[in-house]
């Protein structure tokens, strides 16, 4: 249901979308530190409810999926399924070094090395773990992206602009020594 900002109702929906990002958290095999830092965003010190961010248990209700961890072989299929359960429009933020490139687990035999090899990722956050303020920055970046996508009539324009890599080879094998 992404549409061009034409009539007032569409504009209203777009405005609401930016003002009310609900998140759901998925740990794809990380060390929990990132998850704890995400939870730390909800607490009084940072209180992301100020931005309308609510953590939801059901992926059906969420707009943004926060993925932590390097996607272990076992979690990869679950991650994919959770992502599929989310209603459009949906965005994915890969948290930490793990989410981006496997971090310290890069090349281990039981990880996929990046969330991106399982589901399309929109925003990356550096750090291991990122501080809560960096996570807030990430969500803000994601919202900026959302606004930009809306302006271009949907998420597809970005994918057209930068085609994703099409490698299907399992990264396992390059175990760093």
């Amino acid at each position: 249901m992404t549409g061009k900002p034409g009539n007032w109702s569409q504009r209203l929906v777009n405005w609401a979308r930016i003002k009310s990002p609900w998140i759901t958290i998925f740990n794809s095999g990380g060390c929990n530190a990132c998850d704890i830092e995400i939870l730390a965003c909800l607490i009084p010190r940072f209180d992301v409810e100020r931005f309308g961010i609510l953590a939801k248990g059901s992926p059906r209700h969420a707009d943004i999926l926060l993925v932590t961890g390097p996607a272990t072989l076992k979690q990869a299929s679950r991650l994919r399924r959770v992502w599929e359960q989310m209603p459009e429009p949906k965005y994915v933020i890969a948290i930490g070094a793990c989410g981006a490139e496997g971090g310290v687990f890069h090349g281990l035999y039981h990880v996929m090395d990046s969330v991106d090899s399982v589901i399309p990722v929109d925003v990356y956050v550096a750090g291991c773990p990122p501080r809560p303020d960096e996570l807030i920055n990430a969500v803000v970046t994601c919202l900026g992206l959302l606004a930009e996508d809306i302006a271009h009539g949907g998420k597809e324009w970005r994918q057209k602009k930068a085609p994703v890599s099409t490698d299907t080879v399992n990264p396992v094998g390059e175990v760093p020594v």
Partner: protein
């Protein structure tokens, strides 16, 4: 009762929240954040890339003369750090002989392109 009193006290107190984007969260000087490289100091010894646990540092070709302990050396390589792979462990800083690569107390970035590097 302690719950109720705490609730009422909180209701009247100023919230604990740091209004993040407008107010900055204090970052201690010891915070290990972004990796920064001072190109003039680096002698291209590759030590940092050897100790880096996630292998975030690759040595890329870069010819340059550098001064080290009063001598002028010609280095062939310089380090390049993948921002999103770095785990901010600070080992590169700990093992660099010249202090060319350090982790500075600043936040790293968020972005859509994971191939970003620092050189």
């Amino acid at each position: 009762m302690s719950v109720l009193s705490e609730m009422l006290v909180n209701l009247l107190r100023k919230p604990f929240t740091i209004l993040y984007p407008t107010e900055k969260v204090p970052i201690p000087d010891s915070f290990r954040g972004r990796v920064a490289i001072t190109d003039e100091k680096c002698i291209g010894c590759s030590k940092c890339s050897l100790v880096c646990p996630p292998q975030a540092i690759t040595m890329v070709a870069n010819l340059r003369e550098v001064e080290f302990k009063g001598k002028v050396l010609v280095r062939k390589k310089k380090p390049q750090v993948k921002v999103f792979r770095c785990i901010r462990c600070g080992l590169c800083q700990r093992h660099c002989p010249t202090g060319a690569i350090i982790v500075v107390p600043e936040l790293s970035r968020t972005g859509t392109d994971r191939e970003v590097v620092v050189t």
